[in-house]
Amino acid sequence: MSSIDVEGAIEEFVRREFAVSPTDEGFGRHAHLFDEGYVDSVGVIELLEFIKHEFGVEIPDEDLFSPDFSTVAGIGAIIARLTA
């Protein structure tokens, strides 16, 4: 699965599970999921579980706290690296 496909799946998950409005122009693959309030402390756990089931990878602690793990695009890059 390419990084773009992974990003798409994550974006769809975030939009669906965290009720992101289709008209929200601020949301995108480079929006900060935490600072901008799209994913809260409970939601990040659900996101990790989704990643585990969907892509078969567990995000290591160092990646979880990396700056990349704050946007859909960044998370996609982490998963692509871990599954390469």
Binding site: S41, V42, V44, I45, E46, L48, D61, L64, F65, F69
Partner: protein, 403 residues
């Protein structure tokens, strides 16, 4: 401690010289906390709480936790490599029947409490008795090992009556033949401890803050009990995480303490992992100079070997409780529904949760206050605790000292 432990249960966090090196240990559950940052001179400074490091001038953003379940050996000679050994959280083993696991749990708790009583011979043992099954079980077992055991019950001052917890604690203490100290705190007395709870509890999330406010009131009262003997506090904490039997609370039309939407097994994994960021007992009682012991921590391997169908089954906790404690507890102790200590009653009166809501102390306020107390921004908090864990980094340099 020259030898490295192959396994480690209970709670521990330390920085100690071993020969020419420094050895840094943190227990696998992460019950005890340990943080570090790098000083201006390049050395590493450790502390049990980030606030201590912030007060010494270190920026909050540069503070990391020592990874839970790790033993790090820092060489005194910076040319040598840092060695890190990981201690697994539990020994993975095949699921066993409830009866077998229950017998293991009871045996472990008995041996642990016997060892504790021996190690702290002459201490005044006190058990926090909420009236729930977890603390009642510890009280029932501890009274067999800890002579002079005293139970302590918390309640918030109410316009009328007592909380369900207080009523149940009185009944249990009577039936277990334990003296009971009743701590009944005014709303103002509870809330004046909020800043202390935020810094000593090292968390801003409401479910931990509210629980820590209960413990702060208990700790204050226990510390004031006149005795020449050293005090040791026992609690029934951790069993809820091991059995994933938490649920959200509702008050005034809103839901609080949301949990992730996961299968019971996955939820348990998350809750156990989240103990890394729960300092609501060790930190809070420690602030009053009181060592706190959570005996269930010693039995983590057995709890995590329970058959998966026990989790989320509705009566799983009752069945396990009966199998572990049997006739040590009266029948009614097994039939009581789960009630969080900070809520206290099954009805509309929601204890400290309601008090905080009514006083405008919401989740956003707690985040903001925590950030302010630590001289940092709101944005940095999500990079300090994420998915129930502290940002953890192995300290890889010569240790500079403990703060």
């Amino acid at each position: 401690m020259a030898e490295l432990p192959a396994s480690l249960r209970g709670s521990a966090a330390s920085v100690a010289p071993v020969g020419p090196n420094w050895r840094i240990i943190r227990d696998p559950l992460g019950v005890n906390k340990l943080f570090w940052t790098r000083g201006d001179d390049g050395g590493i400074v450790f502390a049990a709480r980030p606030k201590v490091l912030v007060e010494q001038g270190h920026p909050f953003e540069g503070i990391s936790a020592v990874p839970r379940g790790s033993i790090t050996t820092l060489p005194a000679d910076s040319a040598d490599e840092t060695a890190v050994q990981t201690i697994p959280l539990w020994q993975r083993s095949a699921a066993r029947s409830l009866e077998i696991v229950a017998a293991e749990i009871r045996s472990t708790l008995n041996r642990y409490l016997a060892a504790l009583a021996s190690a702290r011979d002459g201490a005044q043992f006190l058990v926090c008795l909420s009236g729930g099954l977890d603390s009642s079980g510890i009280a029932a077992l501890a009274r067999e090992h800890c002579s002079g055991l005293v139970a302590v019950s918390f309640d918030l001052e109410r316009r009328r009556g007592e909380s369900d917890d207080r009523v149940e604690a009185k009944r249990l203490a009577h039936d277990l033949n334990l003296p009971l100290v009743c701590v009944t705190s005014s709303p103002d007395s509870v809330l004046e401890k909020l800043d202390m709870v935020l810094t000593e509890g090292i968390d801003w999330r409401d479910f931990n803050v509210h629980a820590a406010l209960v413990n702060a009131s208990l700790a204050e009262a226990i510390a004031a009990i006149p005795t020449e003997d050293a005090k040791v506090v026992l609690t029934g904490d951790l069993a809820n995480e091991f059995l994933a039997d938490y649920g959200p609370e509702h008050y005034a039309g809103s839901a609080y303490y949301d949990l992730p939407r996961l299968s019971p097994g996955a939820l348990r994994t998350v809750l156990v992992r989240g103990l890394d960021t729960s300092n609501r007992e060790v930190g809070i009682f420690g602030a009053w100079g009181l060592p706190v012991v959570q005996p269930y921590a010693a039995a983590v391997d057995s709890y995590l070997a329970l058959p998966a169908d026990l989790l989320g089954s509705g009566d799983g906790k009752r069945r396990l409780g009966e199998a572990v404690f049997g006739g040590l507890l009266p029948r009614y102790a097994y039939d009581r529904p789960k009630i969080r200590a900070q809520v206290g009653s099954a009805g509309e009166d929601k204890g400290i949760l309601a008090l905080c809501v009514e006083r405008g102390i919401h989740a956003d306020y707690l985040r903001s206050r925590f950030a302010s107390l630590h001289g940092t921004s709101l944005a940095s908090l999500d990079r300090f605790i994420r998915a129930g864990m502290y940002r953890a980094v192995v300290p890889a340099s010569r240790a500079g000292g403990a703060a």
